[in-house]
Structures are given as structure tokens and as C-alpha cells.
Symmetry: C2
Subunit: 347 residues, 2 copies
């Protein structure tokens, strides 16, 4: 099995190093042979080659069995909306080129972190949500541009039946292995893409009679996620809504620093923290590496089918937390100073 | 001054009755002469005339000085994405026809309701956010439709410089009268409309040197609203992002049942609760009328410049809460049964 490591920008570098170290350790412990390679992407790739996703990187990605990914982005582009070459273009191109249409984001709170969230513990306790965010369509990939002498901007959102069906099927199937409830989130009272989305999900439902299907408008869902997160089991939604809702839902897990995601499609899979490049803390050694470590666990489970190995990682994280160790983002006033870890130690 | 009452659908009827009663009372107490008329909109208008916003209603709206609005919507359309005539069309048409481009949503927690939110009191305490949601542009009003034999759906998001500038100015000016901080929310790392949005806000900033301007991506903002709501003062954002974020932010105020909004532009203003028609509780007499009451307060303040009258209403709501009275949505286990009010009583 061949794993490509793509640390990307900012804290992506620091945390992916730890994620990789865990893969090396697991391979050793369980007697697997993984080979590794590394490639550039994002701002670091622009600096080196002028291209946020160099052909060489894309080629290496296609030849991998799975990719452990960090983050891309740099504040310098955020404040320059007119920049023509941007780190995120690499990310979007990777998703499209590799056909990574399904982004899975499990949101589960480790019991030890009940205190780290801004939401009340009694509301949180027992929350366990699996998001399926569509990742290669919607307003992210439609035509966009300017007109009227640069005075009007537009973005086209688009979905085909086929695109909705394949992500919805993945979500229905996942619901079967879990709480058997599927919530499809859209804005069908306003958007035509959402009306198509809802039609397709409704048409599939009879094939999954064991699954209870609910449809929610995105505004109501954004509210309900905070008011009553236990109400959700599997959630399926479009690219843009998924982007917003999963970041919001990270608060259910106490910190973005704890959340891993898997982007899969027809071939290789990309495993990455949902946090970004976080340049404000880059290089300080305080980044929480657990999202990358948990991304490694997802990689073993989903791309390699190595359930036991994956669970060994999750248990180790659980034990670390039970023993009271914390990185700064999940520490609180009661955490003793000698239990506050830096990035390497947490790994 | 002429006020048009448009109760609309579901609990819109019940709560708007209470909102109007408060206006009548205030006029009496402060010696004002308000005249009233009533008109149909939404599902009730479809049933009566086939049109969610009959011409007669629109005409009455144009001739009003302000409109006290309830809610529109009906579950029957939600489960039928192919319905050609929908209550929401009336709402969107009203916004467009009356030029209501600025939707103001103040999110402020009454101290007595600290316990009603799913967010921890220490995170919430002191939160006070004023949202400016753009209301007549974006993906709500662009061309939308189907192609490829009905197998592909599309929606076009569009913004012109002028549209962004006028809402941004309103937000900058409001920030001047408050905490002097403005957060503009967009998705400029992906959307061209957002890049235009950011350009315009950046270009205006030098005209308001006393205001500290920050730009956030919508995903980060959705997270930060829950993690640290006190970080926000005035927030300005596009139509779709505003829809999602303000519903989410309602949790900061404990309940949607407490939140009023004002939609203003060049002529008359529309004042309405941010909650919807809530058919699940319609007719049970349990709906919280305070959002409609607070909408009446906003109406007096913004459309009529009657600050004292507006504050009298807010104080009365505050006193009601301080005296321990609650409708069901904001009651908790400690609320004694004799302090639980129905809709009329709360009015
Ligand atoms: C960086 C950005 C383009 C990206 C997205 O919006 O998809 C990120 O927010 C994510 O969720 O992976
Ligand atoms: C009913 C719907 C069309 C509307 C919107 O999305 O604008 C509502 O959610 C609102 O916020 O007023």
C-alpha cells in the first residue's frame, strides 16, 4: 500500500508529520508494509512552482492508494480578493481531478472533552453525527466571472441528478450501519438545485425502507445543530451548505483540532483535518495534531479496510484524553500545566 | 401614520395579533394616531386568490408607512419540490418589489434567558450582535432553472458593486452608533460574488476610519458565532449566508421566538419575527408572541423614529421576563406552571 503525504501550508506541516508518525507506528505494530512519498500543494507549491497543484503532485496522487493531507491557505491571498493564483484552487482542482465527490465528516465528542465546547454538556452528551458533504459540484465548480465592466460578479450553482444520487446513496448506506436516520439539508424553498436535490433523495427513499428520512432547510438545520445536536444521525448536503454546517458542527466536538475528514470517490482517498492552515499559530508547536492522527485512523478504516488498526488509534487518543493530556485548544482552566502538550508530545 | 398588518400563515396569525395589540396600546398611551389595514399573503393568499402576493396586497404595502408582518409557508409545499406556486414566492417578490435590500436582525439576549440557550451562559453573557443581511440579490434572485432534459438544475448568484455598497454603508453607519466593529462575511476563497463583496467593503473602509473592519469566511463565521459570540458587533453579509447565520445566531438569544427583524430600503419597511409559520404549533395558543412584539418596537424605532415608544415595549418585555413569565419555548424545568403563558397572555 502506497501513501502520499501532502502537508500543504501552515500548521498542515506540523500536524501531518505527527499523523504520518502514527501510520509508521501502526504499520510496525501490526506488521504492515506501507510505502510513503511526499508532495507539495497550496501556497508552498505556488512559491516553488507557481502552481498550487503541480502536475507532479497530481500524478503522485493518482498513483497513491491513499493521501494524508494537511491544509492549504495563506493570509496573503485572503486580503487580496483579486489574486489570480490561489492555494484553494489547488484544493478544488484536486477534488475535481480525483473525483472525490463524497466528503465524510464524523462529528463525535470524546466524553473527556464535554467541557471544551461552548455548548452545554447536557445538550452535547451522546451527539454522534456523520456528515456527507458533496464535494465536486454546486457553486464551487460552476462557471463564475464578472460582467458589466467588472461591476457585476456571478457564480453558477449546478447539480445533476447523477451527482446528487451518488452522494445520497453513500449517505443512505452509511445510515444503515448507524442510527438509521438520514437528514437531507437543502434550501428547496428558494433554490432550483435544492429542489432537484430533494426530488432525488425522495425518489431514493423507497429503496431504503429501513431508513427514516427527514428534509430540513439549511437555515433551520444551522439552528437545530446547536439547539439539539442529538437529533441528527447521518446528514447529507450540498457542497456549500456542507462547508458551513460542518465547520459549525465542529463546536459539537469541542474543537476543530479534533476533527478528521475523508474525501472519497472512485479511486484514491484524501484524509485531512477539517481545520485550516491556521497561520496565526504556525511554527509555535501548539497545534493540536489529533485531527491528523484521527485522519490517519479514517484512512486505515476507509481506504484500507483495516478496522482494528483504525480503532487502535482512536483508543490511543481516548486514553491520552482520559489521562488528562491536552493541547492548548482543548485545555481549560482546570488542566494542570504539566498536562498541556505541544504538537510533538501529543503525537 | 398608516400601518399594514400582514399576518400570513401558521402562527403568523396568532403572534401578529399580539404585535398589533401592542401598537394600539402604545398609540393610546403616547397619544399617537395610527391607522391600520390588513392584507393577505402566503399560503392563505394562494388559497383565496391563487397568488401568494396578490396585487391588492402589494398596492396596500406601497401605500403604507410600515408593515407588521407574520410569517409565510406551509408544509404541503416543502414536501413537494415541484410545486409551481409557493408561499415563499410572495415573500421574495415583496422584498424585491418594495426594494427591501437591508434586513436588520438584532441578536441580543435578555439576561433572564441566559438559561434558555443551549450555549453556556458564560460564553453568551454580554453578546449583542446586529446583522445586516442583504435581501434583494444573490442566488435568491438570479436566474434559475433546469436543463439537459430536466436532469440538471442551476441557480445563478449575482451581485453588483452598487448592491454591495448600499448594504455595506448601512452596516458601517450602524457600527458607528455601536461597538465600532464590523465583520464582513463572505466566501472570497471560492466565490466571485464574494470577491466582489470583499473588494467593495475594503474600498469603503477608508471612509470609516473609526470602524475596525474584519473579513471572515462564512464557514469560520458559522463556527465562531457559537465559540465566541461576543467577538461580533455588526455583521454584514450576503442574502444566503445571512439566512443561515442569523438562524444559527438565534440560539444566542435563547429562542427564535424572541427575535425580530426589520427589512428596509427606500420606502416602507417590513417588520417581522425571524421564526417561520411553525405549523406544528399553529392554533395551540403556545406560540411566543414576543418576536412580533419586538418587531413592533423595531417598527416604531426605525420607520417612525419613535425611540421612547420603542424602548417602552422592550422594557415591558424585559419586565415580563424578570417577573418570571415564560412561553413554552423559553421555559425550563424551573419555571413554575402558573408562570407559563399562552400567546395571548404573554401579549
Ligand atoms: C479552503 C476552502 C476552499 C475549503 C472549502 O470551502 O471547501 C475549506 O473550507 C474546506 O472545508 O475544505
Ligand atoms: C422562507 C424563506 C424563503 C426565507 C428566506 O430564506 O429568506 C426565510 O428563511 C427568511 O429568513 O426570511
Amino acid at each position: 500500500k502506497h501513501i502520499l503525504i501532502v502537508p500543504g501550508d501552515g500548521i498542515g506541516q506540523e500536524v501531518t508529520e505527527v499523523g504520518k508518525a502514527v501510520l509508521v507506528k501502526i504499520a510496525e505494530k501490526f506488521g504492515h508494509e506501507f510505502s510513503y512519498d511526499e508532495a507539495l500543494m497550496g501556497h508552498v507549491a505556488i512559491e516553488a512552482t507557481g502552481n498550487p497543484l503541480p502536475d507532479e503532485t497530481l500524478e503522485k496522487m493518482r498513483n497513491s492508494d491513499a493521501i494524508l493531507f494537511g491544509a492549504v491557505g495563506h493570509p496573503k491571498y485572503d486580503n487580496d480578493p483579486t489574486a489570480k493564483v490561489r492555494p484553494e484552487q489547488g484544493l478544488l482542482k484536486m477534488r475535481k481531478e480525483l473525483g472525490l465527490y463524497a466528503n465524510l465528516r464524523p462529528i463525535k465528542l470524546f466524553d473527556e472533552l464535554l467541557g471544551a465546547s461552548s455548548i452545554r454538556p447536557e445538550i452535547l452528551k451522546g451527539s454522534d453525527i456523520l456528515f456527507f458533504r458533496e464535494l465536486t459540484g454546486d457553486i464551487y465548480f460552476g462557471e463564475k466571472g464578472r460582467k458589466n465592466d467588472n461591476n457585476t460578479a456571478y457564480d453558477i450553482a449546478e447539480y445533476s441528478r447523477y451527482e446528487v444520487e451518488r452522494i445520497a446513496r453513500k449517505a443512505f448506506e452509511a445510515a444503515r450501519t448507524r442510527g438509521k436516520r438520514l437528514c437531507s439539508v437543502d434550501k428547496a424553498n428558494v433554490l432550483e438545485t435544492s429542489r432537484l436535490w430533494r426530488e432525488v433523495v425522495q425518489a431514493l427513499a423507497p429503496e431504503y425502507p429501513d431508513i427514516t428520512v427527514e428534509h430540513q432547510f439549511v437555515d433551520a438545520a444551522a439552528m437545530m445543530l446547536i439547539k439539539d445536536p442529538k437529533r441528527f444521525d447521518v446528514v447529507v448536503t450540498a457542497n456549500l451548505f456542507g462547508d458551513i454546517l460542518t465547520d459549525e458542527a465542529s463546536q459539537i466536538a469541542g474543537s476543530m483540532g479534533m476533527l478528521a475528514s475523508a474525501s472519497v470517490g472512485d479511486s484514491t482517498g484524501v484524509y485531512e483535518p477539517i481545520h485550516g492552515s491556521a497561520h496565526d499559530i504556525t511554527g509555535k508547536g501548539v497545534a493540536n495534531p489529533l485531527a491528523s492522527v484521527l485522519s490517519a485512523a479514517l484512512l486505515l478504516d476507509i481506504s484500507f479496510g483495516l478496522k482494528e488498526e483504525s480503532e487502535a488509534i482512536i483508543s490511543a487518543v481516548d486514553k491520552l484524553l482520559k489521562d488528562g493530556f491536552r493541547t492548548r485548544d482543548i485545555a481549560d482552566a482546570t488542566t494542570p500545566a504539566d498536562k498541556i502538550l505541544n504538537t510533538q508530545q501529543a503525537g
